[in-house]
Symmetry: C2
Subunit: 453 residues, 2 copies
């Protein structure tokens, strides 16, 4: 069948990447920048700052360990390279860009930079998820700013979009695909039929996954980002450890086969929903979790391919807004860092707006959602299995929607699937504990929620 | 086949829409707001401002003609209702929200408000596309701000996302679906097989299209938005009349039939691409147009359903970022207006950043793209038609990719389709002028570009 060849609609005129129009006139006093960390993102930030016109942004210091190995001639000679953090913190830089990661010593350095009267730009999701509100208060007290657009979803302007672009709405739901490694692994399993282990290996070989992938695949990385988005979008302060995570490691190729049968995909979904019971006393409840979930194939989230990220926000007035793009990698993350530097350059003296001044602490936090569910069992086949499962589910008032069993599997380890009508995941969990005690399981049952857009 | 019922993952806890956490403490001096225009958007803005906590935002004046018919008891009694524009402009309001539309008298009122030392928030795409840079200069001169997030894509934070969230990148391409009316009509034609006329009628009955839909269907509305996005994202000042528009009125149900055969959709696409030829002399070229186009069914743009909007931005470093959601309607547009009011409240004294300080004027502007094309002919069938078409195309060095002819049409008015390999649309236009002079056409040939994401 004839299909026009896919091609980018680039004009024939385009001969090279255009340089940016300077956003802020060069006559403005330059903003002196000290960079902490010269890894992948740090190098991209330096490249963007030193290439082409960048108006008021002037890189003056680069800090890294073992600077001899890091130093490159491609950056201007005026830049001071140092292994001594104090040299940067005591210098005249206006902004410290923290790209070290982790909370120690990065958190101390960020605090010291703020106390020294410098603004801070950071891509550190762990630090911001733990200490974002505290650091925002400190920045405000010092009349400086802390910006962290790069801490969530790299090059996608999700935080500014949600926090400022949708400031006029009352958001109640944030959902997204916040970890590119998991999305790469799951989309590869989906497209190639490969196992989790071989998709992970492939991701590691391509540099999309680390040697120890547990922070990604177990949801820890995405959870820190969900904490930040929950603060930014829902105005709720929550601690990471309050949000349950479930790993994607138990997803098998059989699950993708059944998901396709159900016209669904499987993705690692981070979801936070706010509910307010008007008082008195007023009660704010948050349901939040990071977990693998079924999503309809036609949903926008199913279209985040490979290492892409997507963030959706639902509001009382604006409906659902979607932000998507490349959530990781040196260059996209560097764009977020440099955009934050521009924000600081523009703001000159305006109060920090990076976090809502007042964020509530929810009265209740759970990981429970009332949604349809997907259950996959692997059993030693024998008569009566479905009857015993159905009896337990009925006891908990949970309705079975459908039963799926694909041919071609051995009776000794037979996978089959049940889909359930909408039910509370906490109630289902109790039923599953009872079900798990039945003696026909070859491996523990897998339970996935089904989330719609 | 069993398919889990589509349902929103709302927690069972959610009993009512949560109220927003106040973003800015109520102790701040309130920002007094005068609203010009109490139509659909104006009423939504007033509702959001007067419902629930809105920190520093205080609606004090509402201006509209025939105020007796408009006045509602649902707003607080302190609000001053007036039919006299001078009363608002001479009052102590800090911000004027202009929701009148059009350039006269709205433009004069906006200028007078700025000169009176008030900031301005507007949803007026026509005014901003014509006079945005001039008004930004005036606002800056007065130490005030003009914000226009609502002028493009309503509730989608596209302008702030592109202009501030991606400030650190060098964007070279903006593409989008910027007109909800056209998208509603085209998605209806696609899903129901209905004609343009009946889909338009349906859109009018549902309030998605105006009695005179020409500004929407001919691309005039989307073009004003593309001008604004071109300024905000590409840093280029261009006049609306420099950007060619083509109407969607000539799209037929046969086109959708053929598009499906090609695994494509048809949408009204607004596209602007910047190319820089480094000098000296440096030459900046812009290719921009608003027109119906084929887009692959798997592209994100094909997923904007009904009245939704989508904006994509491609940058040198961040790759492609996507913003989508509800681009029109009272509530989503009001969210953009109120978000702009929050931005002004937060900025207190910071310089206006709504437009890049320096926007270049491109040296060349055209509507030409080098992409694959779709040609649909309706002919009185006879031997030799394809040969004569192919001869003319060959003369212009244009290669045919495929020929499609579906059965079931009369020989007296036979539609068939050619897809062409990537070629310059200006060259193709010259070939089509020659082709149009052939005598077998029952109606003029339709030519659509094929755009990929």
């Amino acid at each position: 069948m004839a299909k026009p060849r896919s091609s980018n609609a680039r004009t024939k005129l385009r001969t090279k990447a255009p340089s940016a129009a300077p956003r802020i006139s060069a006559a403005d006093k330059p903003l002196k920048i000290g960079l902490l960390g010269f890894g992948t993102v740090g190098r991209s930030v330096a490249k963007i700052l030193c290439q082409g016109p960048n108006g008021p942004l002037l890189l003056t210091h680069v800090f890294n360990r073992n600077i001899k190995k890091k130093k490159t001639d491609s950056l201007p000679a005026h830049i001071r390279w140092t292994e001594n953090i104090h040299e940067v913190l005591r210098s005249d830089v206006d902004v410290v860009v923290e790209l070290i990661g982790g909370t120690k010593p990065a958190g101390d350095w960020v605090r010291r930079a703020l106390r020294a009267g410098k603004s801070v730009v950071t891509a550190n999701k762990l630090l911001i998820s733990e200490s974002g509100p505290e650091l925002a208060v400190l920045a405000r007290k010092m009349g400086r700013r802390i910006e962290f657009g790069a801490s969530v979803a790299g090059g996608i302007p999700a935080i500014i979009g949600i926090q400022e672009g949708l400031a006029g709405d009352r958001l109640y739901r944030i959902a997204g695909i916040l970890n590119g490694t998991c999305n790469y692994i799951l989309t590869r399993m989906e497209s190639s039929g490969s196992s989790f282990v071989s998709a992970l290996k492939e991701a590691q070989d391509l540099g999309f996954a680390e040697a120890d992938p547990s922070s990604d695949v177990d949801g820890i990385d995405a959870r820190a980002k969900l904490v930040i988005l929950t603060q930014a979008g829902l105005g709720l302060q929550v601690r990471s450890e309050q949000i349950p995570c479930r790993s994607i490691t138990s997803i098998t190729s059989a699950d993708f086969m059944y998901a396709r049968e159900l016209d669904c995909s499987i993705r690692q979904i981070s979801l936070a929903e706010k509910a307010v019971v008007p008082g008195p006393p007023r009660c704010v409840r948050l349901a939040a979790a990071v977990q693998p979930a079924l999503i309809p194939a036609e949903s926008l989230m199913a279209h985040a391919q490979g290492s892409q990220n997507i963030v959706t926000a639902a509001g009382e007035f604006s409906g659902r807004s979607v932000f998507s793009g490349y959530g990781a990698g040196g260059d996209p993350t560097a764009v977020a860092v440099v955009s934050d530097l521009y924000a600081i350059a523009r703001s000159a003296g305006a109060p920090a707006a990076a976090l809502p001044k007042t964020a509530e602490t929810p009265n209740e936090v759970s990981g429970d959602f009332t949604v349809p569910h997907y259950l996959r069992f692997v059993v030693q086949d024998r008569p009566g299995i479905v009857a015993s499962l159905a009896a337990i589910l009925a006891k908990y008032d949970i309705s079975i929607d459908a039963l799926l069993q694909k041919p071609g599997f051995p009776h000794s380890a037979l996978p089959f699937v049940m889909t359930l009508e909408s039910c509370d995941s906490a109630v289902l969990q109790r039923a599953l504990e009872e079900i798990s005690r039945l003696d026909f399981h070859v491996e523990p049952p897998l339970c996935l929620p089904v989330f719609s857009d």
